[in-house]
Assembly symmetry: C2
Homo-oligomer: 471 residues x 2
Amino acid sequence: MSDIVVQALTKIVGKENILLSLEERMCYAYDGTFRSFLPDYVVRPACTKEVQEILLLAGEHGIPVYPRGAGTGLSGGSVPINGGIAMDLIRMNKILELDKANLIVVVEPGVVTAELHKFVESHGLYYPPDPASLKSCTIGGNVAEGAGGPRAIKYGVTRDYVMGLEVVTPAGNVIKTGGRTVKNVSGYDLTRLMVGSEGTLGVFTKIILKLIPKPEAKKTILSIYPKLDGAADTVPEIINRGIIPASLEIMDDVAINCVETHLHLGLPKDAEAILLIEVDGDREAVERQGQVVAEICKSNGAMEVKVAKDDKEAEELWVARRAVSAAILQLNPTKVSEDATVPRTAIPEMIRRLRKISQKYNLPLPVYGHAGDGNLHPNIVCNKRDPEEMERVEQAVREIFEATIELGGTLTGEHGIGLMKAPFVNLQFSPEEIQYFREIKKVFDPQNILNPGKIFGGEEHEGLFSAAKRD
Amino acid sequence: MSDIVVQALTKIVGKENILLSLEERMCYAYDGTFRSFLPDYVVRPACTKEVQEILLLAGEHGIPVYPRGAGTGLSGGSVPINGGIAMDLIRMNKILELDKANLIVVVEPGVVTAELHKFVESHGLYYPPDPASLKSCTIGGNVAEGAGGPRAIKYGVTRDYVMGLEVVTPAGNVIKTGGRTVKNVSGYDLTRLMVGSEGTLGVFTKIILKLIPKPEAKKTILSIYPKLDGAADTVPEIINRGIIPASLEIMDDVAINCVETHLHLGLPKDAEAILLIEVDGDREAVERQGQVVAEICKSNGAMEVKVAKDDKEAEELWVARRAVSAAILQLNPTKVSEDATVPRTAIPEMIRRLRKISQKYNLPLPVYGHAGDGNLHPNIVCNKRDPEEMERVEQAVREIFEATIELGGTLTGEHGIGLMKAPFVNLQFSPEEIQYFREIKKVFDPQNILNPGKIFGGEEHEGLFSAAKRD
């Protein structure tokens, strides 16, 4: 910690917005993954100008800066692996403008996703992206990591709703990308280059988002299968009938058993899979689609199909799916939550391979996630204090990614590469492709001060899993 | 023309696929704009390897390469302003794969857009982007320029459907971007960086496109207004009622009069605006939405509202809109077709400003386009053989863009910056922003051999309009 830096940072954000004690800095050392790294300084800027001044100062002193929203990330995207400055953006949490007729909302990065949902829905509008952490995560983090969620199958992901950005680059330039029109092909698409860039190219200080009218009605269907294949066959059949559900979620037998043990909902423990399907849109269409979906479920061997009569019943059907993430932690304290994504028809084969990986490495591996878009969440449940086990976990993760790539998929559907997948990035990309990434990084951040150590593999990632016990 | 280069190119593509005569080269000198520039060589590669070898050869000899689809572009994106090699990609016109269950089609760049529509629709699927030139333009060109079309208001633009690319970079690297999953945040989003990059960063040799189920039904409504404001007020009211039409097209009085003089359809020549509105989706919903739209049109003072009873009547309602582009050429032989795009609520103000610009420079300026997404097509009708008039045109174009930016819009919604808007690019972007564009260009094309002279303004663009008479 340098006195000069502390003084300069204090001048920028004010005394109450720089945190230096160990206890305070510990709160900014982690995200939703199992590794943590202590920052040297925590600063909480309130506006674009403060962000700019912090980045200029960091550049001058060669200090790394790690931008951060609510710290709910699942790839280590915001953890300060080289110390330096943790830049907490949650004070910048204003909804700046709602332009109803143009279906646009302009927000600061620190707005919580669920707050945005609530706000726009109260005006009859809809912001579809719904990452599981929506009650605490921020829009800035969603944009940085390219967040998804269950509704992606029908409505797409964060990328599809970001129309423009105000970005402070590591060089301290404030640039505007995109704009306020759906059609816009002026210059290179820096907006989408920034979306999913994981805080490595710039800090977003304003975000222009596209909205859609709120769907009039929805219908929720829960379908329980004695055999995984029945669930797997249901998915493409729904789509072939011309129905794109708003969500199409899956839980495998391990996940079902964890939830049932945890909550006693009366789920059959011998079921191999549950699908949770939601259709939405115009009232008449939704009613008819709900019936068609229920029929398709039955004809594919479902042992039980529940159709919610109203919103209350719909919420009850979501209980099991929403509880999975917490329920599986009963098995062991550390959860390695992946988001390997394959073309949706490859899901049954992917689940079979996950079973084999689970057995080979003797690790519990419940699987749930977004069957409609092929975005599974295989979760390895383990103990980060056991380095031997964590070495097996790392091997298992590598095999999961190898299977994903082999089946035509991608390392990450919605969590980002961040830190935790950086060691595996060469499984998906050629050296030439990674070199282009590195050179784009250099264009915006020649000093490599903004979120260094992420995305691109490097020596710093060796032993990333087994070293967790020291954190 | 160099013998060594001719020999080497002949070896790559074969004698029948290199065109060297003046007559043949003249066919590759133009696009849909009014300027033309003769290439030194025309080559027609058949595969990725040939594209790669051409680029390596061009790099070795420092020869510019201008990739090209059907030459229908409206920004001069493909014209070979520095001579060199015109690379015609229409031999690469295979639909490589349809993956129905995953809603994906994989194509080569030379596939004609309407052919793709026909093919996927015969399988019950839908590829929404529908640029006006769809019967002749190619998917490769659509991706390069980021093409739009009437359906963008509901379904988005080309960018929203490109999931992955195979790209040959100017350095001769064959890279893969994106993939086959809707959710994919692995690495920087090179796919969207390539979309709309106007052939300046790489040549696309394979394109993975997202499809959706074909909408079940549609309803077409034509609404004629005595006053422009009535049409303008109709647009946000439809959207506020939660209806996003599949298209929402506008024609102003000048455009109406051109069409009526040309085709005698019985359009009232005293009408100030016509809206053509199409809703699509589930049959019941469409029926109801059609009624709501017709009511909104009437309540905003429409003098006539026609609702098509079937597909045949719907086609008849489209006749006037489809005829505009040809009809306005009766006024004068050269058409400067812009695609200035503003937030949709700024349309009435934009049309008023276009009126003033038309009067100030004494130039006919019919306006039509996509009212739903704010993407207007002000067309200046002129004569490129008259340098004095073309100087006025250039001034008028500059004022159109100044108004666009002032109203929160963008220089180009769907045509690209290309050559013809390059002189105006600094109206929209700051020097820092343009510098980032230039540095990204350098990452992929350090020698500046791929489509040089486009997007970024420069000395070569002075007198771009008035010099047209020499072409």
